[in-house]
Amino acid sequence: MMSVKSVLLVGVGGQGTILASKLLTLGLLEAGYDVKMSEIHGMSQRGGSVSSQVRYGESVCSPVIELGGADMLVSFELMEALRWLEYLKPGGKVVVNDFKIPSMPVITGAAVYPDDILPTLKKAADVTCIDAAGIAEELGSARVMNIVLLGTIVKAMGLEHIDWERIIRGNVKPAFADLNVKALAAGMAAV
């Protein structure tokens, strides 16, 4: 029996973690896995720290990932990786987007955005840092940054056997489908 895998997608409200995790779960479901997903809506979406938790396998119990329970942490924002790293399993994989969003306490001067995030992350875990925003912009729109990051999950979790192109085409506006498919491939190539 296959053990349950847990992928934690984190970022800042409005970055598109919800669409990325939705596509991920649709692909996993089609591939025959039992899937559970959990996310928090509401107030935290207004620029707060957000997470989408995806778990899949033969039979999944809890929809939420526990501390030390994530096989993979994908952070859409640099500092958020550090906030959520405690959820990673020893030996787990981290993909972090080289993208900083100052939080309100940083903007008002009440807190400092740490300057040594990457070294701290790298000392603790297997970390790949990618410029998902840059990759997305080169493809044509910064808005597909979330799909680039989805691509890194597909690659890192060994999910290439799922027909992601079909999943994407079935769930995004036709005008943006090609761009999203390219973004997924670019993300897969980046890790």
Partner: protein
């Protein structure tokens, strides 16, 4: 057909499959999506009600008229609806009546952490607690049957994770129900004392029958494994417990949790040496189990507050979390929610936060964020609509005592229509000097943009009369009423200067759409060009004084290397508040 859906979607689907004819709700995280999903089914009359009491009463009326009806709300919404809840429990329903309540252990988007299971007990309602989306769908369908079979409303109790987690469900088809016959039955529905005394006795008989059902229903079941440790659990905690204990313990999983099954629980516990009770918030199950003379491990080991997620259970039972990676987390800066770029509340809060001679009572919505830095503009937030009535009470007292402290009360448009409208009526009637501010962003913002009586549309997108708040205030007899553009700081300051010293009630309406709102045709004509411009900082004029930082805008930051303010072009929506704070005219419109 199998589908991966949230608990909220599953409740909506279950109600539809059960042939529900009317659904009424007021938006509230985490319950909002139930009504949103129901509104997509053309067979169902769906309504955003003005508040939860109205929603439940609308559903009661439909049930009385013979159609299955559902009303959904967040936990604090049930407080608003508690009045009809306690009495409709006596009358029962004609067609099935289901009340959905969504609690928030952990308070992700709520002002308290009440455990609404206590309502089932207090109002004597049968209660179902689903653990996942599959159970949400099945239990919702069953709740309608139960309601009709026992002639009582049924409470379906959810929690945030059950509402917002997705799991796989099997979809069914709708089973259309003909209207139940309507008959005038004063002895059943007219709750005058003589009738209610009889219904009260009948309720106890009904509960005795439900207690028997609780012993035999497949919703309450035991799973026996090796060993002599047992776990008694309900709702989403079932899956958390399974995650931690796996097959090393036996489970008594309870789905019908009011009334609880005495014999089933006793029999289970008698087979065990040790029994854990895993539940979020109050010791609801634990208190019951203790009445049976059993000594379980409950709140003496598990926390009262927050979610009972697998790591919390693991820590409580085994004293440690799973091994993780070690690193220094201390440098991570907090990231609380903040007003969005372009938020129309920003300008108003900037001006209000500068005044130190006012007490400010706030309310429930995005504008609660006015309490945080850099605005620090609120003194108190309690519940929906309370801003205006708290402010009224404070102002009356301060005026009587001759205090120089003046009172400003503020709430949003949807919260005004919810219960604030009653508070304003009271202020107009009883006098007093509070300044009542309605932050009208043309939509219900925090919960994700639901229509309301002022927005001009219904949940189905049909046109509705857009209530004019100025007209309402004047109809109540308030003489000082003004609508202002909250992005115009001079205008905001002027109206506060004028209204705060008055010794009569006044109303300020700040009217500008939410920056995330999808504009209606009316918005486009009323607010032409809104959110289409960008501002930029002229780096040669900026002196690095940081005054613009007081706008608290996520798209405006300070580059400590260059010692200059910078605007993130992709985030700026052109409200222009920051430019009005700059003493050197360094911030201006692009291409100006």
């Amino acid at each position: 057909m199998k589908k991966l859906i949230t608990g909220d979607e599953a409740v909506a689907r279950g109600a539809w499959e059960a042939g529900v004819k009317l659904a009424a709700a007021y938006p509230g995280t985490p319950s909002t999506e139930i009504l949103e999903n129901l509104s997509a089914f053309p067979e169902v009359i769906s309504e955003w009600s003005s508040n939860e009491k109205v929603a439940l009463e609308t559903a009661i009326g439909a049930s009385l008229a013979g159609g299955r009806a559902i009303s959904s709300m967040k936990h604090v919404g049930l407080n608003v609806a508690a009045d009809p809840l306690f009495t409709v429990s006596y009358t029962g329903s004609n067609a099935g009546l289901v009340v959905v309540v969504a609690d928030e252990p952990g308070m992700f988007s709520s002002q308290n952490e009440q455990d609404s299971r206590n309502y089932a007990k207090a109002a004597k309602l049968p209660m179902l607690e689903p653990a996942d989306s599959g159970e949400c769908l099945e239990m919702t369908k069953y709740a309608f049957e139960l309601s009709e079979r026992y002639d009582t409303p049924v409470l379906l109790r959810m929690t945030t994770r059950v509402c917002h987690s997705k799991s796989v469900v099997e979809l069914g088809e709708r089973s259309e129900k003909p209207l139940a016959e309507y008959k005038r039955q004063g002895g059943k529905y007219v709750c005058v004392p003589a009738v209610s005394r009889k219904l009260r006795v009948k309720k106890e008989e009904q509960f005795a029958a439900l207690a028997e059902l609780s012993e035999s229903t497949p919703l309450n079941f035991a799973v026996y494994n090796e060993g002599s440790t047992g776990v008694i659990v309900s709702g989403g905690c079932f899956h958390y417990a399974r995650e931690v204990f796996g097959e090393s313990v036996s489970y008594l999983k309870l789905g019908l949790t009011n009334p609880l099954p005495k014999k089933l629980v006793s029999d289970f516990c008698n087979k065990m040496d040790k029994v854990y009770i895993i539940e979020e918030n109050d010791p609801y199950l634990e208190d019951f189990v203790k009445t049976l003379g059993i000594k379980p491990i409950g709140k003496d080991s598990f926390p009262y507050t927050g979610e009972m997620t697998p790591d919390v259970i693991r820590k409580a039972v085994f004293g440690e979390s799973l091994p993780g990676v070690s690193y220094d987390k201390s440098k991570v800066a907090p990231r609380p929610p903040a007003l969005c770029s372009g938020c129309p509340h920003r300008g108003f809060f900037y001006e209000l936060g500068r005044r130190k001679d006012v007490m400010v009572t706030g309310d429930i919505g995005c504008y609660t964020l006015g309490a945080s830095a850099p605005f620090n503009a609120l003194d108190a937030v309690i519940c929906m609509g309370a801003s205006l009535s708290m402010g009224h009470g404070a102002a009356k007292l301060l005026d009587r005592e001759g205090s120089n402290l003046k009172v400003v009360s503020l709430l949003g448009d949807s919260t005004f229509f919810h219960t604030g409208i009653n508070s304003l009526l009271n202020s107009a009637y009883n006098g007093g000097s509070a300044v009542n501010v309605i932050l009208d962003n043309r939509i219900t913002g925090m919960t994700g943009h639901q229509e309301n009586p002022g927005s001009g549309y219904t949940v189905n997108g049909e046109s509705a009369y857009a209530v004019n708040i100025e007209d309402v205030a004047r109809a109540f007899g308030i003489k000082h009423v003004r609508t202002v553009d909250p992005n115009n700081l001079a205008e905001v300051k002027a109206v506060l200067d004028e209204f705060i010293p008055l010794d009569e009630p006044s109303v300020i309406i700040t009217r500008w759409p939410c920056a995330l709102k999808k504009f209606s045709a009316e918005d486009k004509s009323e607010f032409p060009g809104a959110f289409t411009e960008k501002y930029a900082v002229d780096q040669s004029k900026c002196i690095g004084c940081k005054l613009c930082m007081k706008a608290g805008c996520p798209s405006l930051s300070f580059d400590t290397g260059k010692w200059r303010a910078v605007i993130d072009r992709s985030g700026c929506l052109g409200c222009g508040v920051c430019s009005q704070l700059c003493p050197k005219d360094a911030i201006g419109k692009e291409n100006a």
